[in-house]
Amino acid sequence: MKYSALSVLWQGLTGHKGWARAWRDPEPKPEYDVIIIGGGGHGLSTAYYLAKEHGVTNVAVLEKGWIGGGNVGRNTTIVRSNYMLPSNTHFYEKSMQLWEGLEQDFNFNAMVSQRGVINLFHSDPQRDAFARRGNAMRMAGIDAELLSPQQLKEMVPILDFENARFPIQGGLIQRRGGTVRHDAVAWGYARGADMRGVDIIQNCEVTNIRVEGGKVVGVDTNRGSFNAKKVGMAVAGHTSKIAQMAGIDDLPVESHVLQAFVSEGIKPLIDTVVTFGAGHFYISQSDKGGLVYGGDLDGYNSYAQRGNLPMMEHVMAGGMAIMPAIGRVRMLRHWGGIMDMSFDGSPFICKTPIKNLYLNGGWCYGGFKATPASGWCFAHTIAQDRPHALNEGFTIERFREGRMIDEKGVGPNPWIQ
């Protein structure tokens, strides 16, 4: 059924008894044209675009838990396309453009809020570095603007501009960036894929990927074995484990924990997204009033989906450094995700050495904003058995070939990326 103002009105008048399931819960079939391993944002997005853009509908998304229970359900909701390296710039801008039309496209309210994303700077050299990035964006046709302290004061008055250690000298803003309600992204893509014929199979954990003669033929799961002509892996933090099931054991990936936090609900305080890179802190405010904020990785390998106190304290200290006004607000919830950190900080959307087996992973802590373009490009790569121009740099081979895409320029050290 199509969601609309009319449907809400009609259902309201008739007691809300007519709403249909948002997606089916079908019994899995013994064979599919495409199996996507992983029912998170990227897996569901891939299934949606396979069906919608390529007419490939004999697809199953296999999710070991419940869809959207992984990183897409745990992030700080920020979307932006303010990257500098060419392989990233155009890819994330494609994603930003897909965000802008997404709610109409998949007929679901994802609360796409283009409230701007601001990167603060605190010194002349940092200003120059941010200006360089802003110019790289503008040369690619992407919006970017340098804000003066006065302009920042009008937008975010509670910042501590006279901070002794990190005086705020301005910021780089992408006004088209902002936040999106992350759960709705998973649900919207799931519903859109399901209504086009994709089977979403939950509580279905892949235990083996069957390869014969160098070609993938299917998967084994705790709900049975299924054959497939093509298999796409989109499992984020578990990328190494899934790839190893197919015999791919040389990925440059380490899984690390990233924590995120939400405060108690307070009256409107911040109506944009502020990132304090120097202090490893970023913050926005949800429509329910909670401050949504986070920082850097804890810094050690982890699949635990929780982090530890030292990084919690470090993140809170970062927040206090630039907006001490939030000091008495209580942290309400915290959680952690599993980040598949690649060794240059950039992702994989590519073919693998095994025929008809495709990889989508290595998103580090930046996968949420990429969700639409990742699914869009991965669907193309799977349907046509070759990458789109937008993802042709995101290969496994780039490390051997010396073509790393290292936005931070810090080298092959995952916990610094």
Partner: protein, 95 residues
């Protein structure tokens, strides 16, 4: 938080240490092949389970402590110095 038993300083909070990654990777000799160097720099087993890793005690004695820790439960099984042979419990098969 992780409590790491530094052989020189005793049990200390993780905040005193800088993680330095997989301790099973041995730096190849000067005449090693490109493939051996690629393996050292880029290839990681990345287990969900028992992991042997380095924690550099930068906030203490500055020695490198080898730790056998579970990446799923954060339980620490053993700590030692760089030359210690530490036992590693078996990882369960499957995710």
């Amino acid at each position: 938080m992780h409590q790491i038993n530094c052989p020189w300083c005793g049990v200390r909070d993780e905040a005193e240490f800088q993680y330095q990654g997989d301790a099973t990777k041995k730096r190849p000799g000067e005449d090693a092949s490109e493939e051996e160097f690629f393996d050292y720099v880029y290839v990681r087993e990345n287990p969900k389970g028992w992991h042997t890793e380095w924690w550099h005690h930068v906030g203490g004695c500055r020695q490198w402590v080898k730790v056998v820790r579970n990446t799923f439960t954060h339980e620490i099984h053993a700590c030692g110095g760089p030359h210690d042979k530490l036992s590693v419990p078996k990882n369960k098969k499957g995710a």
